[in-house]
Subunit: 180 residues, 2 copies
Amino acid sequence: MEGFLDFIKTRRSIRKYTDRDVSDATLSEIFEAVRWSPSWANTQCWEVVVVRDPVTREKLQDPIGPKNPATRAITAAPVLIALCGRLKRSGFYNNAVTTKFGDWYMYDLGIATQTLCLAAHNAGLGTVIVGLFDHERAGRILNVPQDVELVALIPMGYPAKIGRAPDRRDAADFVHGESF
Amino acid sequence: MEGFLDFIKTRRSIRKYTDRDVSDATLSEIFEAVRWSPSWANTQCWEVVVVRDPVTREKLQDPIGPKNPATRAITAAPVLIALCGRLKRSGFYNNAVTTKFGDWYMYDLGIATQTLCLAAHNAGLGTVIVGLFDHERAGRILNVPQDVELVALIPMGYPAKIGRAPDRRDAADFVHGESF
């Protein structure tokens, strides 16, 4: 694809949205992209809840708390994506963990998250990844079962305001040659 | 970007590579993309080791073991990327964990991994994410310090053989409406 780096660089965390709704067709395209994310031995532990109901989204503000700048985004966006991971799949073999890191669902959900955010960006949509909230309480509101963890809430909508990108470390700061 | 879904769908796990080398300029472009990945409060915990030395890559085969289909890829590829995460950044505030998940470095490294694999794919390169190995022993070979975890080894090269994509769950299987 042409302009890949520009595409990556123009993705932003978006917390303010226009009134325009997100169609089911657009959401389907985004989830079709998520579907093709790589995962541990192709275990695909991701589960997604699509929340449009304003009552549910209002309830979710409580486990996020008033201090988080994303609290308002949860109800301001037309759609909220709750990203969950099924436990004991990623990193497992024959029901046993295979590495010191135990369950790799956080890693695989990270991969799926970036696919989702980039697919949304490609569709002209803005997202913000919200990880700081009371996961137990939010999970109960969304009826997330015991063997699944709710990890991130991702409001999604057409951007009303696109901010400046926060600074990044230079690549020279994190790239090491041959040895750390 | 046009053809985004096709771009996502044509990324494969690649384990066989041509003899063509990967230039430093191409690697720089890929790391420039990684740089713009989102992360917890922009903490950017990622660290990358670029291993070209065949002796080091041969040593790394041992902690991977002969059973892993990726073992051969580690030495077959012209470049190996070791993806590491600095601890106590992601998910932390004032040196304390903020959620039940503790350190979120696995999640942020998952995001960075997908950026890296897509940027490589965009440059015509193939990658495979290797997570199943003895992380302690491999980390010692690469001199990874105590406050950093080596998480994934990612061989990278121009594909000699592009396989069929393994099947995926339908989106209808993982997308839930309003509630899980």
